[in-house]
């Protein structure tokens, strides 16, 4: 009789992703979130193909028309089709915040792991500076950067990425602290591995989940921050359709034309709720509890 030792095959990255997504979709809230998110991403990519009207065509004779079969969501104060502008309105927001979150994830994660690993004086100083940045209200810092550097996408993406990355530094640092004292790190050191190898092979696989969940949460806050900037007139410049800007423009006339404000409100709210539900389900699928954390 031979003894057969069954060894589980290491899972491929693809099958892991499939597994995480199916865990996320097994809860109703996660499924709803995923559906909304997929819907919005598809809409953002494909909407220019079937937008019924020109988003910047101004026609004074069509001002503030109520919803009709020609103009599904009515028209705004400049006679532009609200439906067209609404389905196009998430493109800039999604692009900017997606790449912004990636930047935030990269620099926040890298600095956090570095601080957790070196510790000591350097760690103290960096964390003090991060704390100081955290105590400046995000809106003030963002407005300052945007007003001095302009509101182009090239400025907004790194600015948002920088500002929303400081919270990730904390999470990455705390996660690194948790693993750094574990035996496998000590044995890797004993085997004579260098710092870089330890970070790449030992620490990163263990802190990756926490950092990615944090990044997903940042995405929804960044979207909120970005739309607030647009709403205040410091984000996307007209006539580019953007929900925040559309709400701010249509707000003054909403006693006559509520449709022009409700359509972008629905678009933005559903996207933010979708991202939030997805991020929440993502955290639960990876077994990370975020329920007691403050939104810093």
């Amino acid at each position: 009789m031979t003894l057969v030792i069954k060894q589980e095959k290491p899972k491929s990255t693809f099958s892991k992703i499939v597994e995480i997504i199916s865990t996320m979709a097994s809860r109703p809230s996660g499924l709803i979130g995923l559906i909304i998110l997929v819907f919005h991403v598809t809409l953002a990519i494909t909407s220019p193909l079937y937008a019924p009207h020109d988003y910047k065509a101004i026609d004074p004779s069509l001002m503030l028309q109520a919803p009709s079969s020609e103009y599904w969501f009515g028209t705004d104060s400049l006679g532009r089709d609200v439906f067209t502008r609404t389905i196009l309105g998430g493109r800039t927001a999604l692009t900017v915040t997606f790449f912004g979150s990636l930047i935030a994830l990269l620099w926040g994660g890298a600095l956090g792991i570095f601080c957790g690993l070196v510790g000591g004086k350097i760690d103290d100083v960096v964390m003090r500076i991060i704390d100081a940045f955290l105590s400046i209200p995000w809106i003030l810092a963002m407005l300052l950067i945007v007003s001095l550097l302009g509101t182009s996408t090239i400025v907004l993406i790194p600015a948002l990425g920088f500002f929303y990355g400081k919270g990730i530094v904390r999470v990455a640092r705390a996660a690194t602290h948790d693993v750094i004292a574990k035996d496998f790190i000590v044995s890797a050191r004993a085997r004579g591995h260098g710092n870089f190898s330890i970070i790449w092979n030992e620490i990163l696989p263990n802190v990756r989940d926490a950092i990615m969940v944090e990044g997903a949460m940042r995405w929804s806050w960044m979207l909120l921050g970005f739309s607030s900037l647009s709403f205040l007139g410091f984000g996307v410049s007209p006539p580019t359709p953007d929900w925040g800007l559309m709400i701010s423009n249509a707000r003054g006339l909403m006693s006559f034309a509520y449709w022009a404000v409700l359509a972008p409100i629905f678009g933005l709210s559903s996207l933010i709720i979708g991202i939030n539900l997805t991020a929440d389900a993502f955290a639960k699928a990876l077994g990370i509890d975020r329920s007691t954390k403050a939104p810093v």
Binding site: R128, I129, D131, A132, F133, L134, S135, I136, P137, W138, I139, L140, A141, L143, L144, I145, S147, L148, L149, S220, L224, G225, S227, S228, F231, L232, F234, G244, I247, S248, R251, M254, S255, Y258, V261, L262, I265, L268, S269, I272, I273, N276, S291, T292, K293, A294, P295, V296
Partner: protein, 318 residues
Amino acid sequence: MLILVLKRILLGLITLFIVSLITFVGVEVLPGDACTTYLEREAYGAALEACYNRLGLDIPAYERYVSWAIGVIQGDFGYSLSGEMKINDVLGPRVKNSLVLASASILIGIPIALLLGIITALWRDKMPDIIISTFTIFSMTIPEFISATLLILIVAIWLEWLPGIVIVPTGASVSELLPNIILPVIAISMIMTAHMARMVRSSVIQVMASDYVQMAILKGVPYWKMVFKHVLPNALLPAINVVALTIAWLLGGVVVTEVVFNYPGLGRLVIESISNRDLPVVQALAIILASIYVIINLIADLLTLMLNPRLKSLQIKK
């Protein structure tokens, strides 16, 4: 205990010092300064030099920082660019207006948040929890300007119950302000309540699952006595810190809410001064808002220390 308190205060001061450095250096490093933005196209030659001279921008940066910092410590923020008014005079009424708004929201928000948090935790996953939690998650995730705009649309325009925007002069007295700020207070406290209620909920749930509560249940302690004597005191402690962080984080949201309701507070001043590129005012605002954040966190730290004897002795041993 005293040493610990002093240490916390010192850390707060260091944070404020770094904030002042960041804003000062930020304004220096980013292209464009007060004079080029103030003079716009005419920013060259004699006019530019005269402006530099008048504002004292021809002095080296570190000297300006030192004299500015000394002024701030003495409570003098210098002069604003646009109106050439003393910044203190600009800030005074705004600070008061924002304080009225914030304290009204906090006074209304905290009790409601406690109540909702406890209800949702005790009836976890039952009808009251599902209804309240859905509502809190919605008001947490939706941006402030959207919930405020919807409030105006529904309450002020469709139902015509309350005025939609605040029309009061900046120098209005508290009694003039109060009847006008009902909607802004609802908007702010709705979001704040949602955040805090979530914290309280998860904190209470955690304590309910702990050994000593299980023990109390086994011993036959009446349910409500157990809730009030064993659960709440232990659950609310850790919530204090998180609530403080949340309040500080909401400062950004207050800025947006003030703009939506046209409320003459600090938030609208942030927007106005940045639109006018009034950098001295922006610097002053950064310091003030950061101080509020630091102070709220300090109070929370001290409260937790005072209320938790275990933490007190632990920290001193360290």
